[in-house]
């Protein structure tokens, strides 16, 4: 731990779905400018952590804190501020299938930031170039692209408005190893270029090692281990050892 100011914190957060407690007084903080990767098995609540931070679901206990101030839930001014300064790459890319690629990338610029369509298209093409996609794909619909290209468009959409916080939900799931490595490299490049804070969740260890400055392991609703990627193989924590050993 460097002792730097935390950008985003989950403080004693509890989340239940029916009788199932998914997160149990979970506490984790991500320092400004750092890339935190949360690993864990399927169904452990990794996606829920991101959704809580984005206000897409409300916590049953505790709170999520941005820049030292508690997020009041979706609709609040602080929540809107976080959303305005954040970018998200969804597991399924979640591209709008009724819009072309460039309209997807420029969606926030046109509909929330009031940028003209002409200027937004220019910025969208720039964002597409940053994820190494050619201008030719700008006018096609997402359904015409491969899974890897859809992920790149999702990444371009996440970075188009130069966010301060980036969230990546299973960025390499469903991709072949070569394409996954390309996506990992693009994520690292863009996080460094923007100098932003990044929170990623994955169960892909190769991806976690590549994109994380720090890794946290989520198990049964709590963070059971936290350390640098290099410490993953040295730790005696049984949950991490079992996860690494597969």
């Amino acid at each position: 731990m460097s002792g730097a100011r935390p950008k985003l914190e989950w403080r004693n957060v509890t989340k239940r779905f029916g009788d199932v407690t998914v997160l149990d007084r979970l506490t984790l903080s991500v320092e400004t400018g750092r890339s935190m990767v949360i690993i864990g098995g399927s169904g452990q609540g990794k996606s829920v952590m991101i959704k809580l931070a984005l206000g897409l679901v409300a916590p049953d206990g505790g709170r999520v804190v941005l820049d030292g101030r508690g997020l009041p839930g979706f609709g609040g001014r602080l929540q809107r501020r976080l959303l305005a300064r954040s970018g998200v790459l969804f597991q399924s890319a979640a591209l709008f299938d009724s819009l072309t690629v460039w309209e997807n990338v420029a969606f926030r610029l046109i509909n929330a930031d009031g940028v003209s369509r002409k200027a937004a298209r220019r910025r969208a093409l720039d964002a597409l170039a940053r994820v190494r996609l050619e201008e030719a794909v700008a006018d096609v619909f997402p359904s015409e692209l491969s899974g890897g290209m859809q992920k790149r468009v999702g990444l371009a959409r996440a970075i188009a408005a130069d966010p301060e916080v980036l969230f990546f939900d299973e960025p390499t799931t469903g991709l072949d190893p070569v394409t996954a490595a390309v996506i990992n490299d693009l994520i690292v490049d863009q996080v460094r270029r923007l100098g932003c804070t990044a929170v990623s969740i994955t169960h892909d260890l190769a991806s976690a090692r590549r994109i994380g400055d720090e890794i946290a392991m989520l198990h049964e609703g709590q963070i059971v281990w936290q350390g640098a990627p290099g410490e993953l193989d040295q730790t005696s924590n049984p949950h991490v050892r079992a996860f690494v050993a597969g």
Binding site: L54, L83, A94, F107, D113
Partner: protein, 263 residues
């Protein structure tokens, strides 16, 4: 066991009552959030125009065809009924009244319930199950403003216009049958219709159409927005949207007709 068994029907009624109240509450909250988005914005005029075309313009053929056949069949039925007490000549007036006050708005709304409620529920449901709605929120855009409000506004504007079209074509269907098969004088038929129909008859139908437009879009959006569970969930949302819209159209039609009937 006997007292527990005796309570089973009570429990079932209780459960049903709670479910009804829960659904009513959820629909009311959804409608209030939609109203807030409609009144306070941000507004998306491009989306409203797109929905006006999808809901209004592209529904013209189905509404027109339904109206022409219904008008023609209505004319034949009234001719048969009127003939039983030598009152065939009243046919133009009854056709006009039936179409403008009742069948024009109700049939247009039912066609829209089948065509538009289903489409809206499927579109929004698919967006919900593929995280597109979550993505929209993370892109600082309120889905109620971008997806729900434009559809409701477009349906409330489009259905009265479609009703006017249905009124004209429906009356035209009755006229065609009367002139073609029943030896009515074309000019006399039109004169009888124009002289009889009052602005209030058409106005009643248009007011109903606005309420039906709200129901059609609201049910499509509500069920689509709450869709869960992939393709099966989207299918269920589509069915629920059409069925609930149709039932609410009939129920509100009765209530509105009661309101507009002078005794």
């Amino acid at each position: 066991m006997a007292p527990a068994a005796a309570l089973t029907p009570v429990r079932a009624v209780g459960r049903l009552t709670l479910l009804c109240l829960q659904t009513l509450g959820a629909v009311t909250l959804f409608a209030l959030r939609s109203l807030r988005a409609i009144l306070l914005g941000p507004w998306f005029p491009g989306q409203i125009l797109r929905q006006l075309a999808a809901i209004g313009f592209f529904s013209l053929p189905v509404v027109g065809l339904t109206a022409v056949f219904t008008g023609a069949a209505l004319a034949l039925n009234i001719y048969t009924g009127g003939g039983r007490f030598n009152a065939e000549q009243i046919m133009p007036q009854i056709v006009a009244l039936g179409i403008t006050r009742e069948l024009g708005p109700v049939l247009a709304a039912l066609m829209l319930a089948g065509r538009v409620s289903a489409t809206i529920a499927a579109e929004i449901g698919a967006m919900r199950t593929t995280e597109q709605i979550d993505a929209m929120r993370t892109l600082s855009t309120d889905p109620f403003g971008y997806l729900v409000a434009p559809r409701i506004v477009a349906a409330v504007i489009a259905l009265p216009i479609l009703t006017v079209v249905a009124d004209i074509i429906g009356i035209g269907g009755g006229w065609a049958v009367a002139v073609g098969f029943l030896d009515f004088n074309p000019t006399v038929y039109i004169r009888a219709t124009v002289d009889f129909v009052q602005a209030g008859d058409v106005g009643t139908g248009l007011l109903k159409a606005m309420v039906f437009g709200l129901i059609v879009a609201l049910m499509g959006c509500y069920h689509g927005y709450r869709a869960t569970g992939g393709a099966r969930g989207v299918g269920r949302a589509t069915t629920n949207a059409v069925v609930s819209a149709a039932i609410l159209i009939f129920a509100s039609d009765y209530l509105l007709t009661t309101l507009f009937t002078r005794r």
